[in-house]
Symmetry: C2
Subunit: 203 residues, 2 copies
């Protein structure tokens, strides 16, 4: 298999790298440069019509796109350590918290990135007013996660999970875009320090 | 357990109803009226701080929010018929297609709904230009799914899955918002007819 990867600050490929590192999986990889728009090159679009990294290409040519889909593939192949939960409630809570990251924080950060950041200024369809409206939303989302993390070691409970990987990569991407965690978010900041100290975070 | 449900056209509660119907699960439910803003009432927000339906409240008081999290809970309790896949590739492909619905089609439909529809005119933070910019994106997303469905019975392959439920509920919500499937989308239209003919679709 080949993992088509893009380096930081791209948040989605990093999710998969952290996930694989937590499981001790060595993914043979090939770099796709986003600044050089290699993800939009015909040979890549033939693999993923969405023109996005990451993808995982299996030996039989099957392509798995979408970071979380690749993570679920790796989980099914290498169940330990389990990062999507075992048992109905744990599975559901990890999915709930993962979706909250995806539905509340990531769209707001993405809108600020796509509609206001200097690096994306050449993209068509910018709406700066919309981008700016999402800046306070991203910070409010961080406050929601801060409140949610009160008294918890990890986002979905006692154990490190895929939900932590999603939140970590999104928070770090928000920092790259220019939105740091609010000062008063002590729970979120402590959690961020905890998960950033794991060896996988450098992946 | 109690399933806090909202009637059509709300797309997310319907996902869970269809999922449960496919599995033959009878969910004891209680209605939460979105037009009456009952999802924002203090007693509901105490259960789900996001103020959104659906949620599933278990007998011990645990609350599972987010449609897909509830679906995963039900899948773990009632594995048959399997709707999230078995085996690494099938699991990954269902997740990939589910995420494509969530990341490509649903945000565009949601933006048209929130920023342009008469029913949401009183909500703060409307950006009509942004809403209108998403109308062609929603139709382009439908064309992407149309192309993807060529030669396939169901979205993620040979078997009906959670990905079909997500696409069906999103397409039907788009129709409610005023965006029908483009005439030329013959594969998508045939798929829509197929999945809409299943008894679960009336849930």
């Amino acid at each position: 298999m080949i993992f088509y990867d893009s380096p930081n600050p791209a948040p989605n490929p990093r999710r998969v790298r952290i996930f694989a590192a937590e499981k001790g999986i060595d993914l043979p990889s090939q770099e796709v440069s986003i600044p050089r728009r290699e993800q939009k090159a015909p040979e890549f679009v033939a693999k993923n019509p969405r023109g996005q990294t990451p993808i995982l290409e299996l030996d039989d040519g099957t392509v798995i796109a979408e970071s979380v889909a690749i993570m679920r593939y790796l989980e099914a192949l290498h169940p330990e350590p389990c990062l999507f939960g075992t048992g109905p409630v744990e599975i559901a809570e990890i999915e709930m918290w993962s979706r909250r990251v995806e539905m509340i924080l990531m769209p707001a950060v993405g809108a600020v990135w796509v509609h206001t950041h200097a690096f994306t200024a050449a993209l068509p369809g910018r709406n700066v007013e919309w981008g700016e409206a999402n800046r306070p939303r991203a910070l409010d989302a961080m406050r929601f996660f801060d409140t949610s993390l009160k008294g918890r070691e990890f986002l979905a409970g006692e154990a490190f999970s895929a939900a932590d990987i999603l939140l970590l990569t999104t928070i770090d991407f928000a920092g790259f875009v220019g939105m740091d965690m609010p000062e008063e978010c002590a729970n979120l900041r402590a959690w961020h320090e905890r998960v950033s100290a794991r060896p996988s975070a450098s992946a």
